[in-house]
């Protein structure tokens, strides 16, 4: 659903590609809802991929935020698939600047929060505005470390972009690579295929 790849402490031997490739396996957890058909608890082989690069940018005043809807809803930036056989693996990176981003799915529900009551992202709060926020150095444009997984009919994911105080305006530039993956269902995956498959969690599994 959403992953953040930390900077590796060391690299030993051959490295794996960051993005899903042809022949890789993915499985969707059993938390995926029935409203999104044909995914719950199923395993797929990636039959082919196509990487599509895209940039979006906004200039915002200091102390202001903008909610960017990543879905295909009216007003969204249309990064979701329209085909039920497509999985979009979206790598997201930021150009440098005095801004940050927080994720919500669906709108109003935080992806990154702590457990104590009130410990939720809040751009209006001097103490909570950095909670759950990704800054440009966390996922640089040239080395994207935030991975998002979108399928058709997934609830809209919102990227709240906030320009911090200390400047007049900031240009927030998001570098996006949409790794379009065409899925081929494995009706009876072997235990080895299941073990090698990347598990795609539903967003509710990230909040407990």
């Amino acid at each position: 659903m959403i992953e953040f790849l930390p900077t590796p402490e060391a690299t030993v031997g051959a490295t794996l590609p960051k993005l899903l490739q042809k022949g890789f396996f993915v499985k969707f957890s059993n938390e995926w809802p029935d409203t999104i058909p044909n995914l719950k608890d199923k395993c797929f082989r990636i039959a082919r991929v196509n990487e599509v690069n895209h940039d979006i940018s906004y200039i915002l005043p200091s102390g202001n935020y903008r909610d960017v809807d990543l879905s295909n809803q009216v007003g969204g930036v249309n990064l979701y698939p329209e085909n039920t056989r497509s999985l979009f693996e979206v790598a997201l990176g930021f150009k440098p600047g005095n801004y940050q981003a927080q994720f919500y799915i669906p709108a109003g529900e935080f992806v990154n929060r702590l457990e104590q009551s009130g410990m939720v992202p809040n751009v209006a709060s001097a103490t909570l505005k950095y909670l759950g926020a990704f800054k440009p150095e966390d996922s640089p444009y040239e080395d994207k470390r935030i991975l998002l997984y979108f399928v058709k009919d997934l609830e809209p994911m919102i990227l709240r972009t906030f320009v911090d105080t200390g400047c007049d305006f900031e240009k927030c530039v998001f570098g996006i690579t949409v790794n379009k993956c065409y899925l081929q269902e494995l009706k009876t995956p072997t235990s080895e295929q299941l073990a090698r498959a990347k598990e795609i969690l539903y967003y509710t599994e990230l909040r407990w």
Binding site: I59, P61, V123
Partner: protein, 120 residues
Amino acid sequence: MPSLAQALDAVGLVTIFAAEKQSAKIIPTQIIVDNEAGLAQRVITIQDVFTTAASIIAATGVAVAAAVTTANRLIITVDNAGWATIAAEALKELEILGQLQVVIDVADVGTIVTISWGFE
């Protein structure tokens, strides 16, 4: 890296050097103001013109509409028959979010500005 030299003789006093690049900021790397043939001391302003996106003020929740904005990023006064050169080291924190343009206090065909820039 692009570079452009222009005389600041525009009727409206504004000379455009570079249009906005949507996916990057413009980073000036060198500015030279040649006022040797200028008719008087001139004041040169490096401006940044851009359109902000619609947004919300975090502290109040009030919506703010998109708006065209002009920000003065650098003001240089150059004596009559003088030069000013500002190199990369002094410009490294100067960022242009939108369109890079130069305004002169009085149009003068003898005042020539050369700007080099890159993108970030």
